[in-house]
């Protein structure tokens, strides 16, 4: 018993030492507690090492102890997994819907269910329109011309801003931030920082790099280029208009204070 108390005291001293030490080194509180937890684990391990021998069990007692042991294991594993930060699937669901929207399903190219639903929808619309045309009589031709003339400039005006918005959205959807830093966010040094890419490459050249990663090599990223770190998949996964939008958005980044590596043309 005396040895166990000494071990607990030593464990606590180490734990407090780790907590204070990590605090002095500016570790966030969550990491301080994690290190304290390691000291607790170590203490438990050393307590178990010199624990007294367990008595032999048999019959019902052994069975009950076994079932209790399994119940403890299940509880510890389930609750242990729940203690880690949990990813929110809702964050991903919206992204997936956007990415897959309009993509062809090669397993069901005819989309039978969708076609039937759309046919019914169009039938209803056709009936509605027929009734409206009847109600409008001869005036409908003039009104239609006016509506067309008014709508055109709005669409044209919105398209520029929309393209950049789509480009920014594609940056998020394709998770480019996992490898590239932009606006001080993201990137794990897998790929170059892109804040000044608009000065170094045109929109077309950026689009070319996305579609064919081997077309340009960032200076100082020889190993990454040789290993083909940038996936050669976006030409298959992204629509051309989305690639153009992403390129157009990236081309607006012209922050010369950031040292974006110089792209070297390879193809």
């Amino acid at each position: 018993m005396g040895k166990a108390i000494i071990k607990i005291i030593v464990g606590l001293v180490i734990g407090v030492g780790l907590y204070v030490g990590t605090m002095a080194l500016d570790f966030p509180p969550v990491f301080r507690w994690l290190f304290f937890g390691y000291a607790v684990l170590g203490t438990v391990v050393f307590l178990i090492l010199d624990a007294p021998t367990m008595k032999v069990m048999s019959g019902g007692k052994a069975l009950v102890s076994l079932l209790v042991f399994y119940a403890i294991l299940c509880t510890v594993f389930i609750s242990g997994a729940a203690l880690w930060p949990q990813y929110d699937p809702e964050d991903e669901k919206g992204k997936i819907v956007k990415i897959l929207k309009g993509k062809p399903n090669i397993l069901d190219p005819w989309k039978a269910d969708e076609v039937i639903a759309r046919t019914k929808e169009l039938d209803l619309k056709a009936k509605e329109l027929t009734e409206r045309i009847k109600a409008l009589g001869t005036v409908q031709g003039v009104a239609g011309q006016d509506a067309g003339a008014a709508a055109a400039p709005v669409a044209a005006g919105a398209s520029g801003g929309d393209v950049l918005k789509i480009g920014e959205e594609q940056w998020q959807l394709q998770e480019c931030y996992n490898c590239h830093k932009l606006n001080g966010e993201g990137g794990k040094k897998r790929g170059p920082e892109l804040d000044n890419i608009g000065t170094l490459l045109s929109q077309e050249e950026i689009a070319k790099k996305i579609l064919d990663p081997k077309s340009y090599k960032a200076e100082g990223f020889d190993a990454e280029y040789d290993k083909g770190k940038m996936p050669d998949k976006y030409k298959d996964l992204m629509d051309l208009k989305d690639v153009q939008a992403l390129a157009a958005w990236l081309a607006t980044f012209k922050n010369t204070s950031v040292n974006t590596p110089k792209p070297i043309k390879m193809k």
């Binding site: 570790f27 966030p28 684990l41 021998t53 048999s58 399994y70 594993f77 242990g80 990813y87 996992n178």
Partner: protein, 567 residues
């Protein structure tokens, strides 16, 4: 269960396979909707159960035949008994593998009919010819191996061992064959400058099979199955030890538990490196898989994996500790002081070396090899030694340190996108979260375990083992090891499958259903635990039916016949 019953079960499984395939060919069949779980989780449950049974029946024969051979060579009947008892359980679980395999195909076809048909069509020769032939061949050889055990003794033993080798050969080929479509879903064939759909249209069956992750997956599963089989053998021994009433039975099952654990741990030592190889190939195939695994949606799955592996290493070393306690004369065993010094220095030195010379740079070996060999070489010249007890205790300290390094994340966030300074490691200490530190942690766990086994081996040669007198707590350690190994298999299986993201076949065939998102770790843990418990229940039942029930009980001495109804 009799042979004809097992055969019938296997036949049902085959019927399920082909009947299901025929069902899926029917045009316009709408997919079913599983209540409560949803379709994806339903497939997950059945697939995982099938893989657990399959993992055991493919892994166990590997060490069964080695054990039989050892028994033959050493003329030690315990090895032969171990091999036969594990084979008895394997035969029962073989039927369960067939049954869950058939169920898996049924559920897959009912829930994802179009995709399943597509996959079967791409691997038609595999699913329709090669796999059934191998399955039938394996069934035939397994039953022959089991039922000729007693007949092929003495001079015919070599013939029986050869049959066991053939069984393993067929089993391994079966594993490699079915890994083809599985790995294809993760890393389908691709070629630079050609769209995956176009390339697939011209690809041969061999191109599809021999994809990026096929061989790493084969290696990982092969080693994993042996680990798993070893730990389940330990579980069998623990159950039987707990149920034994005689000293000689306890002595035997104590020995069996030790052997099972040794096989499990022996294979476990290679497992982190096999896993690393698989992850390396996956990242090489598509670099975006790496952040998804390690920094984003699945990063906490890997934290949990680190926790599990750490616990498994702690438990397996604790089992060695308890095993040492039953050796008479163990206190005389000593070891060079260099060994604990290397243990303590290893995480730090290895992190530094691997940071400066990242693997597979051979320069890293120039520093690390002399260090690892120092106890064996310098130990001969430096006379200072320490007791085995001290070395093992320092080893435990370093296992805790190794676990700590392995577990420390870059940030306490589920995805990199949510990282803020209050949850992130200080930049000066970020090396703790990088691969060199993680590799050094894994290697420290392996090194400590190897040193502990060396000490155990010395203790055995210098002292006397008192079999059957091990601390009763050791049986719970064996059960824990089997449970944790199965749980970790389930976790990593889920990770491998989730790496396909929102695709049935990565980058090739999107999953348009509403379930194609990454589930949370907590949700996954519930199902992994549930699947493990079901598997455990079936295995426990198989052990009780085959081994406990088959043990002849001592009969009461027969007296004179008593007429019915007599008082």
């Amino acid at each position: 269960m009799k042979t004809w019953q097992r055969g019938l079960m296997a036949l049902f499984a085959l019927l399920a396979l082909f009947g299901g395939a025929a069902y899926a060919q029917a045009p316009g069949t709408p997919p079913v909707e599983f209540p409560y779980t949803g379709n994806r989780t339903a497939v997950w449950i059945v697939a995982q159960l099938h893989i657990l049974f399959a993992g055991f029946i493919l892994g166990a024969p590997i060490f069964v035949v080695i054990s039989e051979w050892l028994g033959y060579r050493k003329q030690d009947p315990r090895y032969d008994r171990l091999a036969k008892e594990v084979t008895k359980v394997t035969v029962i679980l073989y039927s369960m593998t067939a049954l869950t395999g058939g169920l898996f195909i049924f559920v897959l076809l009912a829930t994802y009919p179009q995709f399943t048909t597509w996959l079967i069509n791409h691997f038609f020769i595999v699913f329709a010819v090669i796999y059934p032939l191998l399955f039938i061949g394996e069934t035939f050889v397994l039953y022959m191996y089991f039922y000729t055990w007693d007949a092929w003794k003495g001079n015919k033993k070599a013939r029986h061992i050869a049959l066991g080798v053939l069984l393993n050969l067929i089993g391994s080929i079966t594993l490699f064959v079915i890994d083809g479509p599985t790995s294809f879903m993760n890393t389908p064939v691709k070629a630079e400058g050609v769209s995956p759909v176009e390339f697939l249209a011209t690809a041969s069956i061999w191109d599809k099979m021999f994809n990026y992750s096929w061989m790493p997956l084969n290696m990982h599963r092969l080693v994993g199955n042996v680990t798993f089989g070893g730990f389940v053998a330990g579980l069998i021994a623990a159950y039987m030890y707990m149920g034994s009433t005689k000293d000689e039975e306890r002595a035997y099952y104590d020995w069996m538990g030790f052997i099972g654990n040794m096989i499990g741990v022996g294979a476990l030592l290679f497992l982190p490196f096999m896993g690393y190889l698989l992850a390396y190939e996956l990242c090489d195939y598509d670099a975006s898989i790496c952040p998804y695994m390690m920094a984003d949606q699945l990063s906490m799955f890997f934290e949990m994996q680190g926790a599990m592996i750490g616990l498994i290493f702690l438990a397996s070393n604790y089992y060695i500790w308890l095993s040492m306690k039953r050796i008479e004369g163990v206190e005389k065993v000593r070891m060079t002081i260099i060994a604990p010094i290397v243990m303590i220095a290893l995480p730090l030195v290895m992190t530094k070396v691997l940071t400066d010379y990242p693997a597979p740079d051979p320069k890293s070996l120039m520093f690390l090899l002399p260090m690892l060999l120092a106890p064996a070489i310098l130990g001969r010249f430096i006379p200072i030694t320490v007791s085995s007890r001290t070395v093992i205790k320092i080893g435990f300290l370093m296992v805790v340190v190794g676990n700590a390094i392995w577990l420390t994340p870059h940030g306490f966030v589920p995805t990199g996108a949510k990282l803020v300074a209050e949850l992130e490691l200080p930049s000066d200490w970020n090396f703790l979260a990088l691969m060199p530190a993680k590799n050094s942690a894994a290697f420290t766990l392996v090194f400590v375990t190897v040193v502990n086994y060396i000490i155990y081996n010395r203790a055995v040669t210098q002292g006397t083992i008192v079999w059957g007198k091990i601390d009763y707590a050791s049986q719970f350690v064996l059960i824990f090891l089997a449970f944790s190994a199965i749980w970790t298999m389930g976790l990593m299986g889920a990770v491998r499958s989730l790496l396909r993201k929102y695709f049935h076949t990565y980058n090739l065939l999107p999953d348009f259903t509403a379930e194609s998102f990454t589930p949370t770790l907590a949700y996954s843990a519930w199902y992994i635990t549930g699947i493990t418990v079901v598997f455990y229940a079936v295995v426990s039942f198989a052990i009780i039916v085959t081994l406990r029930a088959s043990h002849p009980k001592e009969h009461a001495p027969e007296g004179s016949p008593v007429p019915a109804g007599a008082k």
